[in-house]
Symmetry: D3
Subunit: 157 residues, 6 copies
């Protein structure tokens, strides 16, 4: 179907053929954020208690999730990421935490799904660790920020 | 640490002890949405071509993801879901698709992380299948809608 | 949809609700076979060389696969098998190997998919280990042999 | 052991060394079928209700399973599939559904196990979704149809 | 075979039948240690730089690994852990780090394999994160410390 | 942080960038051992009953575990092993079994973590299969024996 690379001419799901695509260096950056509310925000960023484990745990979860992307998203190609980082930026005015995930590959397909999956799981992990304090947290603004490599050129949001 | 059930008294990550909690029927409903833009929206909902596979594929991915929750979120307990459903609602005015995931369990811990994970992965799958048409899609409004069972009572957002 | 327990009233895939089903002892036995041809058959069953590892490896693969069933079959419930065995029976006249897998559970859903998955993966493993000798092997007769427990009663093929 | 590439000289299982093999384009096509009986066959292919989800769900399961092959089959090398498709063909006279899976790779090892695994899991998924109607379905005729790439040349069954 | 609960009467691997065992509260504590050498030890425990992530990352890896035990150890039953903790104790005189993992379950089988797997993977993670500094680290003393619940009674090493 | 390749300049965990590293043939050999005690040792090595399945099962588990390394160790890169073998050597004087795992890759990163993970899981599997006989077994001496390929040169312990 025109436009849908993941559907064949009959509209059936297919893992698209990338056999003949070039191996190039590909980078994708994705972001997202969770609005956690004042109580959670202060507990994470201003508490006197050792606080590192919420974000450290979420970072590890995000990095590990990028490696499971092809296991989660049905039509994603398995691929061998060459670099992943997950960072968090506090947004105090909104009592929110922004997450940025960068994924890199020397390969045949783009890695935006890996970056987006890393962001999603890192934010879900923050939710999980803080949900006893606040059930009304909300995850949003998950989107591609930048993408390079491959024939579609350099994309910056 | 007070408030953080997933951190011990030294702020270290721990999978919290639920051994003595009651086995009760627990239900969680989560939602989220992806703003796909007019072109993708019309291709999915108004196309003449067989279109079912985008949403069918995302539904399957969402259901399967709920079963991987404890593999993705570090401190989630493994558990045996007794029911999962994933539904999609078109929001034409915003060219968006809302996803609702319901998870059910007869067990010792709540299932909101399963429902939230199902929503996240279903929406990521839609993103994946449509990204060749639009790189500016955005996922958001991922949140808990309802939760029942367990000692924290019935929560409705 | 009438008949299809795994589709909702609109024909959409759903993991069916078993929350209220009784916990009973459930057993399923499945079988299947691979026709390997004379050369492979003799190499496995009559060789002088240590031959055990083909079947030992296939047995382990089959047992491990039963534990991955809910990860492979989209609408299968995750469950906690309480017993699994995988056995092989030579069928010399056909140069075939029959595989029988028994799965047991004290739980709310039947375990026939686990037994069938164990058989399938055990046979695929034999195929893999012998394919350098014969590319024309064929796997077949994969079916449920017996099932007990649950409200549908005792089934014997 | 002569013939068994997956056993070493003592008959022990080993993941065979492919380090020095050439990276070539490799394709494998496998097939199999499930005899579902008249009632299931008509429900899937002739029903008035939305029926797509049985085959859509099985197709997704089959594609996802190809990516888990090295996790299921002990001695399979992990590899990065570049294309996968799963198709179904009704065989009305036998009330059966034939499944064909094509897998493609630019790599060092053949992909017949991936194609065979995709077929097996797609057929098991059909079984799962229809088993409430018919417990006597049978899966068979799982075999390699075609294989190209690599030093063993072009194989057509 | 007498003694080997995981082998049947013919010496074949089997996942032993626990269907009829009682559901009791079961706890296992395992330990192990890695000798890291002075340079790594000081970098982790005495550095001025933020050092938490080595142990935080290893703790998360250990906890997550306990949940994968039945996926790693062929004949382990899948089970639903109700509590897991992983702790580290510096042993300065030996420039070593001791890891203690506690696992808890309300179920039918012991959880010592889960505790031992958590220890092993936590220590491997420390190895991975420090191997650029020292290739001669050594992991050892992995053993069961305590086990309670089940018919074999209370074991303390 | 100086020395820690897996921590960024702020001490945060990161999957280190190997995009620009050369693809070379890389080999790693790791070892470890389990002291099983006389009763278990004799049952495995001197019994009259078919005994192969303990070591055959452990070998398969070790090989399969090498393929899961990047899923277990948070900052390990996913990679495509081209060869894996797992061997066992009896050490009668100590009633111990030594395990040696060799992993090979044509790629951008070393494979010592894969070899160490293979050893660890093979030994844990022996523990699991023999724990009904002896709860005091101990796993140790897990270490890198040899490593070649990559810019750090040839390492022999």
């Amino acid at each position: 179907m025109a436009g849908f690379t993941h559907l064949d001419e009959n509209g059936k799901a297919v893992m698209v053929d990338v056999t003949d695509k070039d191996v190039t260096e590909r980078i994708a950056v994705a972001e997202g954020r969770i609005v956690v509310g004042e109580e959670v925000f202060r507990a994470i960023y201003e508490g006197t208690a050792p606080k590192g484990d919420v974000l450290a745990c979420a970072r590890v979860a995000g990095i590990m999730a990028t490696k499971k992307t092809s296991d989660l998203i049905p039509l994603c190609h398995p691929l061998m990421l060459t670099k992943v980082s997950v960072d968090f930026v506090p947004e105090e005015e909104a009592y929110a935490i922004r997450c940025i995930c960068t994924a890199k590959l020397s390969g045949k397909t783009g890695v935006e799904m890996e970056a987006l999956t890393g962001v999603s799981v890192a934010l879900l992990t923050i939710y999980d660790m803080c949900k006893a304090i606040n059930k009304r947290m909300e995850i949003g603004e998950i989107r591609l920020v930048e993408k390079s490599g491959g024939k579609s050129g350099h994309f910056i949001r």
